[in-house]
């Protein structure tokens, strides 16, 4: 069966510090991968998606970037965090056109 992991689970970072969140998927190959951000009490906002190694599409211009160095690894990064980057970050995967499956999430607080 497929599983999706995210780490860290929680993170508290000062403004201006760098960020690296990691997502890995097990039990499948060549998945589509997604990064979402969920603000408190709100829906999910798609940040990036990837259909293959090195292929990244950005949905929203922002302070963040994404990379996919391996088939089942997706990384979300920032060089300098802003207060507005605080939120709940979710990684998801799917096969083309099918339902997405989500990881456990990372709670990021920028102070």
């Amino acid at each position: 069966s497929q599983t999706i992991h995210q780490w860290p689970a929680t993170l508290v970072q000062p403004v201006g510090s760098p960020l690296s969140l990691e997502c890995t998927v097990e039990g499948t190959s060549n998945p589509n991968l997604y990064w979402y951000r969920q603000a408190a009490g709100r829906g999910l906002q798609l940040l990036f998606y990837s259909v293959g190694i090195g292929q990244i599409s950005s949905e929203v211009p922002q302070n963040l970037s994404a990379s996919r160095p391996q088939d089942r690894q997706f990384i979300l990064s920032s060089k300098k965090l802003l207060l507005s980057d605080s939120g709940f970050y979710l990684c998801a995967w799917n096969r083309e056109g099918n339902e997405q499956f989500f990881g456990p999430g990372t709670r990021l607080t920028v102070l």
Partner: protein, 107 residues
């Protein structure tokens, strides 16, 4: 632009009191409508996929239905453990989520 609106934003029920959650959508070329359950501090858990008007799916106390403009998630005789936020999403060119309905079931 694809849009998804969920109502109500919050719903309080007594245990055993059946009700429905609404998901209204506009999308160019619906390729699927998905329902998820999300517990506080966790990632969404997949519940159902619906593809065409008239389709219905059931799982325990939950039943999802789909029309050309909206979907309903019916909850029959809910229990406190059904308390969660329920998210609806439509697949057009991309997956678009609604804001969710926070369901609270009191014993």
């Amino acid at each position: 632009e694809d849009q998804v609106t969920q109502s109500p934003e919050a719903l309080r029920l007594q245990e055993g009191e059946s009700s429905s959650l609404n998901c209204s959508y506009t999308v160019s070329g619906l390729r699927g409508l998905f329902w998820y359950r999300q517990d506080p501090g966790k990632g969404p858990e997949f519940l159902f996929t619906l593809y065409s008007a008239g389709e219905e799916k059931e799982k325990e106390r939950l039943k999802a239905t789909l029309t050309k403009k909206e979907s309903f998630l019916h909850i029959t005789a809910p229990k406190p453990e059904d308390s969660a936020t329920y998210l609806c999403a439509v697949q057009g060119n991309m997956l678009t989520f609604g804001g969710g309905t926070r369901l609270m079931v009191k014993p």
